[in-house]
Chain length 509, copies 2
Amino acid sequence: MNYSYPATAPRWGVFEVTMPGKSDGNPFTDYTITATFTGKEGSVTVDGFYDGDGVYKARFMPSYEGEYTFKVSGSFSDTEYTGSFTATAPEKGNHGPVRVNGYHFAYEDGTPYFSVGTTAYVWPLQGEEMVQKTLEELGKGYFNKIRFCVFPKHYIYNLHEPTSYPYVGTPCPSPTNIDYSNPAALFGVHEGNDWDFYRFNPAHFQQIERCIKAVGDLGVEADLIVMHPYDRWGFSHMKPDQDDLYWKYVIARFAAYHNVWWSLANEYDLLRDKTIADWERYASIILDKDPYKHLRGIHHCTTPYDHTRPWITHVSYQRIDLYKCAELVDQYRIQYGKPVVLDEIAYEGNIDSGWGNITGQEMVRRFWECSLRGGYAGHGETMDVPEANGKLWWSHGGPLRGESPARIRFLHKILCETPGAGLMYRQMSWDSVCGVPEGTRGPARYMIEYYGFGRPNKRTFRMPQGMKFKVEVIDTWDMTITDAGVHEGFFTIPMPSKQYMAVRLIAVD
Amino acid sequence: MNYSYPATAPRWGVFEVTMPGKSDGNPFTDYTITATFTGKEGSVTVDGFYDGDGVYKARFMPSYEGEYTFKVSGSFSDTEYTGSFTATAPEKGNHGPVRVNGYHFAYEDGTPYFSVGTTAYVWPLQGEEMVQKTLEELGKGYFNKIRFCVFPKHYIYNLHEPTSYPYVGTPCPSPTNIDYSNPAALFGVHEGNDWDFYRFNPAHFQQIERCIKAVGDLGVEADLIVMHPYDRWGFSHMKPDQDDLYWKYVIARFAAYHNVWWSLANEYDLLRDKTIADWERYASIILDKDPYKHLRGIHHCTTPYDHTRPWITHVSYQRIDLYKCAELVDQYRIQYGKPVVLDEIAYEGNIDSGWGNITGQEMVRRFWECSLRGGYAGHGETMDVPEANGKLWWSHGGPLRGESPARIRFLHKILCETPGAGLMYRQMSWDSVCGVPEGTRGPARYMIEYYGFGRPNKRTFRMPQGMKFKVEVIDTWDMTITDAGVHEGFFTIPMPSKQYMAVRLIAVD
């Protein structure tokens, strides 16, 4: 492998320098590699990484168009590599990394980002056919964020082997079932593992990168779950120095992708041998090593993390009540003062557990509740039907089988019409949820009222005198928007006695 | 009218003495009438009452079979009336008044009473055709309790005149609509009323009695709402002495009906000029005047009454959250230490307000949630469809149009199979609600687990080793019970991936 780098890279694209280097000993731990990129706005220094076969790489995401120079040095090579390149206009559809904008999000170019997420924990590790099918579904524009793991997953429906492992070594045999009478079956290290936690398997990380890039090309954020407890190999039970090595490698490889979000964990509180001090240390590594300040969150099972911690950019939440979750978003906003993302509100599906067997209607209802209360919801799907053959979108990606994705896309289209940064909750009646543009004081000039599981035959509005509103009746399930005329003051809108309806009012004078 | 009384009366029936008396002045206030009934177990003294046209009556409900003597005296007559009668065996289906049994109910003969209620606020005052239709529906066994008012009702869908008024006088004109910009339109006294609050209209009370008796004959408890705020005539704004006169008249007339419950109010907290001291005074009148100790409750709109008050026999509750109500029953039990009756959990219907537009499925789901948590739920229906012509079961009775009543009857049949007094909640899993017989300690020999809006394709049970269970899959909506075999220990039951399913386990060894 020769020293190489491209002459140009688009703004918010990945500029990559490839270099030969020392491969004796353990290149993952024995050598240093640091790269500094300098443009008109200043310099950024990042870690490079060993990519196997004597190859080292350093990656950089240019934040501005224009000329850059770089210098790569360290003990990995006796040569210091330097060069220059031009950052060109961003590729079509690349608006830059997502940033926090109050309780909401916007891409770096200022375009508001209304998050409609999904989860497919280990879709990159299910073979090419499933990966392509997943990308095909994501190409339909249902979602603009997907949560997935770097490590493989061990759990119900996840007893088979992943296509690759993150470390050099040998996995334990695939179990044939999970013995629920033995708690270690789900969260313990099984017999027969033999891993070197100081030697990464670059092919595994290359596959994750390929998937980060592929979803990014589709306009989808990659909410990377860096640690999780569903493990039989010991990846959730490594020593602190091994964890830290992993975190640094992950950041060195992935941070230059504009669409990466750092999710420190899925269900951090089930990683029983990690302490809060451990999570805070991982966070400090990100703060130290990620110059692009990608979004940072941490997701719980039963005990929410202290989301007021300054390093947390947004609240990543799992429902903690069987009956209410999206309904609490406006409270969480007050509690934490940050954007609230309900990354897990149960899955459209039919599996045995309540977290995985809600209907499409209930999924969409939770999305609307969450959105109108000024938060952002996440989809997932666990449809265990014969043709799925045990492969469920929730973990494996592949074909979607539920009814909610098209309705979520419909909601997203409406959210994108919000004047301003996003919506906030306004109490308009005791039996509806109402969203108005963030920061609205006094009479709202834009308002969506949603009736959830209720099925009114009419709704009465008491709007300020002297303001005229264009009124639309929205069928959130059948995905229609029906003009209901222009009204003012006290007026009644006929409704079709159906569930999952909304009314939008837009001031026209 | 001559002095008359029957020679016999069935136990728990109404024994009535009819007597002539003074009709000059105001017979409702100017004279006293007291009756004492003496049997082998002791004596009971009650007030008699003026029934119009020079007729006075005294009523008594014999609690035991056997010989009774009585004596009626007071200023209403210069004659003291005495006599004797025999209390015979109760009529078929009359198990006596309902009593509290811990967190549950039982009839006085010991038969458990599993309450499945409904509400039709002013069905006795809608004309004979509606009354008969209501009784026809109640004859189908959907419900065993009905809440209704003594006073007529003014509210949306209730602008027309009732068939009678409780007082002598003239009502205000029927309004044609409710002006929502004027708060007095719903809760204020309209112009044009002219009532004598010291002169009752006996025909009005006779109609209420006829309805109490008719539902009693169908095995249905009459949960009488004695006061309520939905009033344009001033019945909710009377002076204390007028209120007290009303309460005494109501008790003198109705207390001898075995199936009467006293609901002091519907939405007591909306009767804005009544104080807690007023409610406590009404309660003391009941305690003083009702010798049969009928059940006593009081229902709120937004602020629950202090249900720990000793005179309150059971908690009569309205949901105070749009999303959760039945789900809170096990907490209310702990909070109040009494039976919990959710008399208002929203209505199956399609009207504009969230309290009146839930689906039949949601209604039935709330019934199951409530029942398995050891409480009792109440139905109501507000289906505003063209053929209803503005007459909704919720207020007027008449034909039922919803889907829930048959499913509530199915639930009641299952509740009646409970071993013991009733069910209590047991936490078996985080995503189901589970009921076991009240007082179960250690392994349950009877258990119903319900999955609500979830739709599992299977459920796994971890039962104590060495106990065999007959397992049944219950479809609470399609009303089927399917044998799933006998199982023990750790086992999995296939489920049909449908909502509103339950599993019942009954120990067979």
